[in-house]
């Protein structure tokens, strides 16, 4: 399913170990790591080596940092140990129904990847949610669809972070007077505008706003500047699992 051959992916261990992949490559490579014990072991060993290189990079600490760190952790409960497979099974149970819903909605479902936990990837959720935090979230769930005009879009949803990320690959540039608009759909079917992108280059965006209560993510082609309501039928719809 992946356009990258296995051999190509193996060669990414080094770049992955030093965080030199873009978000999309990283998600793909982490899927590969789930299946390739050799790569996983190599990544760990290369990280050990990289950690030694920066051994001497110690820097004097800002004076109040210690107090700030210690007082903030006093207010944060450490996460419980993870049970990596639960989230996956849970999602898999839900997906048949969701896939049917998607298929009914015009598009071709190219494949549904289910996010799971990558023991070698730290997950950094924090105040400001970045795309990579969503992609790394322990409960991240992916689904990918082929776009009718070419290219693919992948939606990654983290219920715990309450955010959705959309990643596009090889999505053609929208016509000059058009944009791709991203929508969050609520249980009543109302679409809320959540961002736009122009296509033409691979893009990763965090959708605007909270996701809770949303049942799906849609992508439409809209007049430049975007619309408040979809004016065309969706190019793709992705169901979101409810927390």
């Amino acid at each position: 399913m992946s356009p990258n051959s296995g051999a190509d992916l193996h060669a990414l261990t080094g770049a992955y170990a030093v965080d030199a992949l873009d978000d999309l490559e990283r998600v793909r490579f982490e899927r590969h790591l789930d299946e390739c014990a050799d790569c996983a072991a190599e990544v760990l060993s290369l990280r050990e080596a990289a950690a030694l290189v920066s051994l001497d990079e110690s820097a004097p600490l800002p004076p109040q940092l210690r107090d700030r760190v210690l007082s903030s952790v006093a207010e944060i409960r450490p996460l419980p140990p993870v049970a990596p497979h639960e989230a996956v099974r849970d999602t898999a149970r839900r997906f048949p129904r969701l896939v049917a819903a998607v298929a009914a909605a015009v598009i071709l479902v190219a494949g549904v990847g289910i996010g799971n936990w990558h023991p070698w990837a730290p997950q950094p959720p924090s105040e400001v949610t970045s795309a990579s935090q969503v992609l790394d979230a322990a409960d991240a769930q992916h689904s990918t669809a082929r776009m009718p005009g070419g290219g693919r879009a992948t939606v990654v949803h983290s219920a715990s972070l309450d955010r959705v990320v959309v990643m596009t690959e090889n999505l053609p540039q929208a016509p000059a007077d058009r944009v791709y608009e991203l929508w969050l759909q609520d249980a009543k079917g109302v679409m809320r505008p959540s961002g736009t992108l122009s296509g033409g280059s691979d893009t990763t965006v965090v959708l605007r706003g909270a996701v809770k209560g949303s049942t799906g993510v849609g992508i439409t082609l809209e007049p430049a500047g975007g619309s408040q309501k979809p004016t065309t039928s969706p190019l793709a719809l992705f169901p979101l699992a409810q927390a």
Partner: protein, 204 residues
């Protein structure tokens, strides 16, 4: 030739690998206690690791104010994730550096940060001139070993690894910066790290 200085307490330098193993055990224990909410253990972890983590953040992010934020976020993240640390995930040091590095790279890649970083860089680039990896070394036994290991990389491998690890660039960007084909950049990064690993005798 190289002046070797024993790590902290003068005396007889312990062999690097056994000292490292002991230190790893100690840090793993502290992580385990932190995961159960032990703030004293975490404070000890901070006192052991924060300078290094901050050094790494500063190296990648460059802007001192942003580096400080990255270090703080990373330390809090380490606290949150501490119960999930497992020896199978590598040494405690590498695990914590990985979390910090990732944070630093995220920061440096965000557009807003890039602007701030450039502005700061131009304002105060005299404070961020510490560049070449080799220069950063030679403070202690491990440093000397690392410097030695770095000489086993070719010039081009070293350049690619540095841009990726300390520059926070993606391999695609590294290829662009060096004017080499994409596949070559990822291979150089990987080959460079493999040589380094083998020269350092990293076991994993």
């Amino acid at each position: 030739m190289t002046q070797l200085r024993a790590v902290d307490d003068g005396g007889v330098a312990p062999s690097p690998s056994s000292a490292r193993a002991e230190e790893s055990d100690r840090l793993a224990t502290l992580l385990g206690r932190s995961g159960r909410g032990d703030e004293d253990a975490f404070a000890e972890l901070y006192d052991t690791m924060a300078r290094r983590l901050h050094g790494l953040a500063l190296r990648v992010v460059r802007d001192p104010a942003q580096a400080e934020e990255v270090t703080q976020e990373a330390m809090v993240e380490i606290w949150r994730q501490s119960s999930r640390y497992d020896r199978a995930l590598g040494s405690p040091t590498s695990w914590m550096m990985t979390i910090t590095h990732r944070r630093a790279v995220d920061r440096v890649r965000s557009a807003e940060a890039a602007t701030r970083r450039d502005a700061t860089y131009h304002e105060q680039n005299q404070t961020v001139e510490h560049d070449e990896t080799a220069e950063a070394v030679a403070r202690n036994l491990e440093g000397a070993r690392v410097r030695q290991a770095l000489t086993s990389l070719t010039e081009t491998q070293r350049g690619a690894v540095q841009l990726a690890y300390f520059g926070g660039y993606t391999h695609t960007e590294v290829a662009g910066l060096l004017g080499i084909p994409l596949g070559t950049a990822k291979t150089r990064i990987r080959d460079g790290l493999i040589r380094l690993r083998d020269a350092l005798g990293v076991e994993s």
